[in-house]
């Protein structure tokens, strides 16, 4: 398949999915619709995890931090300031960004597993704070009684699950479109190049740490928006929404989705949340077992995730046809392998060769 045909196919598939997503609430009951809305919210957090894990090379277990900050900010704004959706989303984004700004000095100097551990600590601290700061967060009881949301000034409050789902879909769509457009600018290229060969980028005068910091704050804002949407979708918030299990499921969903692609992140997160939320209804007690099996299977079959699988296969076929299948051409050195897809010329000199040698700065170990 030529790249143009593939791109066309992808676009057609994306448009089809969008139609299905919009039509969905008319074909299922209200409870399933609200589940879908929550899945969308978590998919948006998954996108922010993918932005850090796959594109910036900072694997994170801590996006539940800005997500929680955005959620509580959204809830407090909804209860005390304004029921306007735009205000809540902006408040969530700002709080998430501020949260990320406060934690960024801890994260950007580290790489690899150390980032994983630091972000784990940040996430745990956030949950602890949310559980104990009772006057603001309602403690472990959470915050309930959040008034219905008006998307913009003058609109009627959203009373049905269907309306709330569509509102969530629109906001998630806008945020993701903005993100994709930003990543297609030279800024996105710089980010990927920093991930693939940090030493070389530094040598050519790029401030990699600065790029990573900006990305971290941006991912915090996205997670903050997701937090404010959680308030709309769920109308309730408690520390249980941000625990270690949520963080781990998000990261693993993103890894299943291929980590480097936003579509993959959405699909992977949705799959994981579907197994957790829907199958637990159909097969009570077996959801963790199925999820566990899914993770083990993914680790074996798709080392770079389901979405990375096709590009991997393509590169394998290409190298076979060139007769270069040296032992070093083993696919799947993990998510920080060579850049996929035919990127514009700008990245070409930075691509890691077919020998698949690891990029520097990512073989992170505990010091």
């Amino acid at each position: 398949m030529t790249p143009a045909a593939r791109r066309w196919l992808l676009r057609a598939g994306g448009a089809g999915l969008l139609v299905v997503a919009v039509a969905l609430p008319w074909s299922v009951d209200a409870y399933t619709t609200s589940l879908f809305a929550r899945t969308l919210v978590l998919a948006l957090v998954g996108v922010s995890v993918a932005l850090l894990t796959g594109l910036a090379g900072l694997p994170t277990l801590g996006q539940t931090g800005p997500y929680a900050a955005g959620a509580y900010a959204g809830a407090l704004v909804a209860m005390h300031v304004s029921t306007i959706g735009v205000v809540q989303v902006l408040a969530g984004a700002a709080t998430g960004a501020i949260f990320a700004l406060l934690t960024v000095p801890l994260v950007v100097y580290a790489r690899g597993v150390v980032v994983l551990m630091i972000t784990l600590a940040i996430g745990e601290l956030t949950v602890t704070a949310a559980g104990r700061w009772t006057s603001v967060t309602g403690g472990t009881d959470g915050l309930a009684g959040i008034p219905a949301i008006q998307p913009v000034w003058g609109m009627a409050p959203l009373a049905s699950d269907r309306a709330r789902y569509l509102y969530t879909l629109v906001v998630v769509g806008v945020v993701i479109t903005t993100m994709v457009m930003l990543l297609r600018t030279p800024a996105g290229l710089l980010l990927r190049a920093s991930r693939d060969d940090e030493a070389r980028m530094r040598a050519s005068g790029h401030r990699v740490t600065g790029y990573l910091a900006v990305t971290f704050v941006g991912a915090g804002a996205v997670a903050g928006v997701a937090g404010s949407l959680l308030i709309t979708a769920q109308q309730y918030v408690s520390p249980a929404d941000f625990g270690f299990d949520v963080a781990a499921l998000l990261l693993l969903g993103v890894v299943i989705g291929g980590a480097t692609s936003i579509g993959g992140a959405i699909a992977g997160t949705a799959l994981v949340i579907a197994v957790r939320d829907w199958l637990s209804g159909l097969l009570p007690g077996y959801a963790p077992l199925l999820l566990g099996g899914l993770f083990v299977l993914t680790a074996y079959l798709f080392p770079r995730g389901v979405a990375g699988f096709s590009t991997e296969l393509a590169s394998l076929v290409r190298s076979r046809s060139r007769g270069r299948t040296g032992p070093g051409d083993r696919p799947g050195t993990g998510i920080q392998g060579r850049p996929s897809r035919g990127e514009p010329v700008g990245v070409a000199p930075l691509q890691v060769g077919p020998s698949g040698n690891r990029s520097t700065g990512h073989g992170g170990e505990l010091p």
């Binding site: 597993v113 566990g292 083990v296 993914t298």
Partner: protein
Amino acid sequence: MMPQAAPVLGPVDPYLIPALDGVAYGLLLFVAASGLVFCFGVANILNLAHGLLYAIGAYLAAGLMDGGWGSLLLALGVGTLAAAGAGGLLAGLLAPVARRDHLTQALLTFGVALGGGALLVTAFGPDSLPVRIPAALDRSVEVAGYRYAAYRLVFIGVAALIAVLLWLAVARTRAGMLVRAAVDDADMVACLGVNPARIRLGVLAAAGALAGAAGVLGAPIIGPAPTTGDTVLLLSLVVVVLGGLGSVQGTLLAALAVGEIQSLGVALAPTFAPFLLFAAMALVLAVRARGLPGRFLRLRAGGTA
């Protein structure tokens, strides 16, 4: 410590019991976390299923112990062996992805932890189970004028013994020598003719045995429940980070510190203690991560001078 002249409570006394609890808790964490240190330091595996290995021991303790000494020994033996076997199984599962990055290992081991945890809940039920310890230990003894659970005192003794044995094994035996060598330079150990697959198997089985023993002995302290695996995994990760991978002593100090923060810290500063653990972890990691490029730069400067 204040002298025990009168039955009046001195300023330190109310904290004696939490401090002792902290020692017991810390030693328990030491036994559990030292397995994780081996996994990470020797085999370079981020084993997110480590909490599951502890939970296996704890559930077996709840299932097998009936209040007699024989059943305690039986549970200790079965729990240690079962968890060691589970560790060996994990090594087999990890073999095909051994050369991949930590995230793949995390995916695999977390999957095993989820699935295994679900199986344990299916087998033993979703409630936290009571553990019946021998009657001779199920009472309280007098410690400096306070009543204290006899089991915890004995546990402190047994866990301290395990710690000493572990230190001797690492410092004085050939296997311990290999462990230390692999922490320093795993590639060189492989070059010297030691099969990395065998090291991985041995390390994971040993880690399983330690976690299983900790699970059986610690079941009256961190009991079997669906959340046990996560709790032990998170606390062990904190111990690994604070104590480093270099030495048994470092792990011991870190585990004792975590135990004291969890009990004495909560008694002394209930507002701040819950944050102390993970804040310390984040700071230690961030400072180390920032320290590395600094050293790198200094080396470079020295080279050019």
